[in-house]
Point group: C2
Chain length 216, copies 2
């Protein structure tokens, strides 16, 4: 029972951002580490699943706009909602994978910076130069990072990450896998916490409902 | 703070079934009643949102098959997973609305019977005769019920229910609305419980995570 928890994320998802603020501490409470795995969720949704982007889906788009802000309040994290039009996380995801190959802990610190830039400061993360600037503050060699982002190896590493995500069925983010149990959404962190604590689903619902009503 | 909780459901959703087993007791713990509101979720997903049916969506379909069984275990309710091909809830939804106009409590008892038939016994609920049989056991006049299902009034009542569901943005089921706060999914019942207990989102995440880890 000491396998890492897989955490599939995309920087452009507000829910993945919220998940990223919780997952390390949650896993650590149960003696687990986290394996951070970037996914291009737009490619997954549009090309693999054949759906429209979530924010452009009728009815669901409005719900998401309200829900992102609410979820951040629920988990007590800073959040600035903004329209993602024109943003993409290709460079950031390639950079993450390059950093991860050298130093997984550094890559996680980098990921927190990118998430913060996009979802707390509301600034773009699309350009490779912006991504490199975030990494520079962590002492990363930006020329090497920019070369890695543009390289065939960088491209291939992300393609392989996507193939793996498709194979495990990570159709949305955040997507957590613990001991083979997949969980989609930061609204399911309670399920992950229960699973890691007890190794069974039994009683999870009743426990969490009765307790949600208790005074904090 | 004593408005009823709106509960949007479709009989053909396993998640709506699981929600239906929890919502009355949950609302009652906070002095609330429940307004049951049927929706044809297939029409919503395909015609209003322009998406594929969930079970036929790549990756998501596999997740759903695993997740339905798991969710039933989490909430401790009987459940038999089955393929829904060829099933629809048109007659059952029309019957529900006809019963609700006369006696909302009777309609809820009827709904529990239909949900049970489909998701516990794994039997079809498509045919109006099957729907009428379930109602007959509750003392309902089946000839009148069958006439109502086939009538223009019956058709119109469901159309109006759909228009209302679209207006409030109920894009999936179960969908709960409490004091204007919309919540999609039986994995969010903890949020509904927290909201009804505290009237705020603040602290909900930390409370529920810590509690999910505690021994039941």
């Amino acid at each position: 029972m000491s396998q890492p928890v897989d955490f599939y994320f995309d920087f452009i998802s507000p829910y993945a951002y919220i998940g990223s603020t919780q997952i390390e501490a949650l896993a650590a409470r149960h003696g687990r580490t986290v394996n951070w795995r970037p996914v291009l969720i737009g490619v997954m949704v549009m090309k693999v699943m054949g759906l429209k982007p979530l924010p452009e889906t009728p009815l669901k788009g409005d719900y998401l706009r309200h829900d992102g802000v609410r979820m951040a309040e629920i988990f007590g994290v800073p959040f600035k909602y903004h329209d993602l039009k024109g943003h993409n996380s290709l460079a950031a995801c390639r950079a993450f994978l390059w950093l991860k190959r050298q130093d997984p802990a550094l890559a996680v610190r980098f990921a927190h910076r990118i998430f913060k830039r996009l979802w707390v400061e509301g600034r773009d993360i699309t350009q490779a130069e912006v991504v490199a600037e975030a990494a520079a503050a962590l002492g990363v060699d930006t020329a090497a990072l920019l070369a890695a982002i543009a390289s065939d190896t960088g491209k291939q590493a992300l393609n392989e990450a996507m193939d793996h995500a498709i194979k495990v069925g990570a159709f949305g983010v955040p997507y957590f896998v613990a001991d083979g149990e997949p969980l989609w959404g930061c609204d399911r962190l309670w399920m992950l916490e229960h699973w890691l604590a007890h190794g069974t689903w039994k009683g999870a619902g009743a426990a969490v409902l009765a307790k949600a009503a208790a005074r904090p």
